[in-house]
């Protein structure tokens, strides 16, 4: 168990390190010169050179990387070129918004997903299962932007049920924010629900085929008991991992969704940053979302280990 945790944590750190390297390299590849971005046009060569010095752009790559990393770890993420403001608070605020959206989406998606997946799995091949499979398949097939546009125009503008844009007042209470968050959350939830639901279903079916289920049945246990006490316990374990993975998907999905709904989230900030070639902003944003994702996976792994006696007691 200890070894397992140690291993997971080690990998977590390793992954982040490598990712940061990759991202840093990719960003350095970006064309468009930094000086112009910072100083604006018509700045004298002298100023430019000074800036290069200051930003250490003339140092060898790995030195630059090392410097950036150490500063990054100390929370000094530098200033954005395009928005003349320190990056950390900006990114953090946006991250908060994105997470708010994501968490609502998951709250909407996961419970029904697991329930439906379970039911479908238990009724494999029955009409319900077929229906579920088909619908979820279609849901998975609808891009977020299509889904978003449909929801906006139908739910918000035709039926006037909810607010179309997701731009939430800065210090709005959750209550005020909610009506604006529902549509984008739904958009994200749709795919999430289908995705998690399908995998839960597969897991349940797989578990049902296991021999211990027969043992349980032949003990004379009621089917209900067999399902909830024996099957679920094992079938839901993998779901934890699935959810963690789907967070990665969510981050990508949100980029689109936030743009469709004009929601001030990290995704939208990233698209902007990349369009602006705003290197430090890109670095900060990507790294933070990577960290979130990796963290989610780490937590999932540990949770999995904690809930799974086979790992817990080894």
């Amino acid at each position: 168990m200890i070894a397992y945790i140690a291993r997971r944590v080690l990998f977590f750190g390793l992954t982040l390190l490598l990712t940061s390297l990759i991202v840093f390299a990719a960003v350095r590849l970006l064309p468009g010169d930094v000086e112009t971005a910072v100083l604006g046009r018509g700045a004298e060569p002298a100023a430019r050179a000074a800036l290069r010095q200051e930003l250490g752009l003339d140092l060898p790559f790995f030195v630059q990387y090392a410097n950036w990393l150490s500063r990054f770890l100390q929370g000094d993420w530098g200033n954005s070129y395009s928005i003349k403001a320190p990056i950390m608070p900006l990114v953090m605020e946006r991250l908060g918004n994105s997470l708010r959206l994501a968490s609502i989406a998951m709250l909407i998606a996961i419970p029904p997903a697991v329930l439906l997946g379970l039911l479908a799995g238990l009724n494999e091949g029955k009409p319900f299962d077929t229906a579920f499979s088909l619908i979820s398949l279609v849901l998975v097939g609808i891009p977020e932007f299509v889904m978003g546009i449909i929801l906006i125009n139908v739910v918000a503008l035709e039926w006037k049920l909810l607010l179309p844009s997701a731009s939430v007042p800065p210090d709005a209470s959750f209550g005020e924010a909610l009506p604006r968050l529902i549509l984008p959350s739904l958009t994200a939830a749709a795919v999430l629900l289908a995705y998690i639901g399908r995998l839960t279903r597969v897991g349940v079916i797989a578990e049902l085929r296991r021999t211990y289920v027969r043992t349980a049945v032949l003990k004379g246990l009621r089917w209900r008991q067999v399902v909830f006490k024996h099957v679920l316990r094992n079938a839901l374990l993998p779901t934890i991992t699935v959810i963690a993975i789907s967070i990665g998907w969510l981050i990508s999905g949100l980029v689109v969704i936030e743009n469709v709904f004009a929601y001030p989230g990290l995704g939208r900030l990233m698209v902007f940053a990349i369009q602006q070639r705003d290197l430090p902003l890109i670095l900060g944003g990507v790294m933070i979302s990577v960290t979130v994702f990796a963290l989610a996976n780490l937590i999932a792994d540990l949770l999995y280990a904690a809930l799974n006696p086979r790992i817990r007691l080894s």
């Binding site: 990998f11 891009p143 981050i251 990577v290």
Partner: protein, 299 residues
């Protein structure tokens, strides 16, 4: 019960070598168990044909404009109507489909190819190489797909080729992982060890002995990757990335149509429908492939 295996329960890869009748049997069984997946396969074929021959069938140029018939609602002349430039939406969708297939198809193939080669070696050789590669893959996979793509689009310039590269970079790790897991399972099989002690070359072992076992999984994975690729490209198109007007790109069409939603909704509907239909069909097909794979594993 260990009923000795019947011709009909051979692995897909074998059935390819076996006669049509057997393949027919498999398909009929698939049709009985999961008609949808067959329909999906047919759907994909249909889209493919459309992409291949469609352009020669459509009377309209997807880019040329004709003012007189702009923003026309669907009619016999224009089954899907026309857009604000009077371009026939059907033709645009067909050409767009062609682009999508060309782009995502190539990307997927390359990714799957590379991924399987890496996966084969890494999985088979194991050891430090394996560890390093896996860590690298973890790192890559920790990057949310769309962000990585945007990053590359920023780095390598906003072009179809970049998108292709992006997709490859995105999917190679995933494919590698899948292949590797299969290899790890297969390489412990006695027949691989038999090959080793038979003095077989590494190449032979990997590509003659191991690869066949990977292929079925690879087929399924490939199909899935394909559908995700379509998804991604569409999303990029919507964000106006990877394509330039007036190219017929489904995602781009959707985002263009957004301005006209109120005036001519069909502009939005058809491209969206196309995307959804294709992705769903591919997913269904993948599902079908998976089933075929399962059949082979039954008894």
């Amino acid at each position: 019960m260990r009923a000795t295996a019947q011709p009909s329960t051979l692995k897909p890869i074998q059935t390819l070598r076996l006669n049509l009748a057997r393949r027919g049997r498999l398909l009929r069984r698939l049709w009985r168990d999961a008609p949808l997946s067959v329909i999906g396969g047919v759907g994909v074929l249909f889209f493919l044909c459309m992409a291949l021959i469609g352009p020669y069938l459509t009377p309209y140029d997807p880019i040329a404009n004709s003012l007189r018939d702009r923003n026309q609602t669907p009619s016999w002349a224009h089954p899907f109507g026309t857009d604000n430039f009077g371009r026939d939406i059907l033709s645009r969708i067909i050409h767009g489909g062609r682009n999508i297939f060309a782009l995502t198809g190539t990307a997927t193939l390359v990714a799957v190819g590379l991924g399987s080669v890496i996966g084969l070696y890494v999985g088979y050789l194991g050891g430090w190489l394996d560890q390093i590669v896996m860590r690298l893959i973890d790192a890559l996979l920790a990057l949310p797909a769309l962000l990585l793509t945007l990053l590359l689009l920023g780095a390598l310039g906003n072009s179809r080729f970049t998108v292709l590269v992006a997709i490859v970079i995105l999917y190679v790790p995933i494919v590698t992982r899948v292949v590797r897991s299969v290899v790890l399972d297969v390489k412990t099989k006695a027949y691989i060890e038999a090959a080793e002690i038979g003095g077989e070359s590494r190449f032979h072992i990997l590509f003659r002995e191991v690869l066949p076992a990977v292929l079925p999984t690879l087929a399924v994975e490939g199909a899935l990757r394909f559908s995700y690729a379509i998804f991604l490209v569409a999303s990029l198109g919507f964000l106006g990335l990877g394509v330039a007007r007036p190219e017929p790109d489904w995602g781009l069409m959707v985002s263009e149509a957004r301005d006209w939603y109120a005036l001519s909704p069909h502009m939005l509907f058809f491209p969206s429908a196309a995307i959804v239909a294709l992705v769903v069909c591919v997913n269904l097909m993948a599902d079908g492939l998976r089933r075929l794979l399962e059949y082979s594993e039954v008894d």
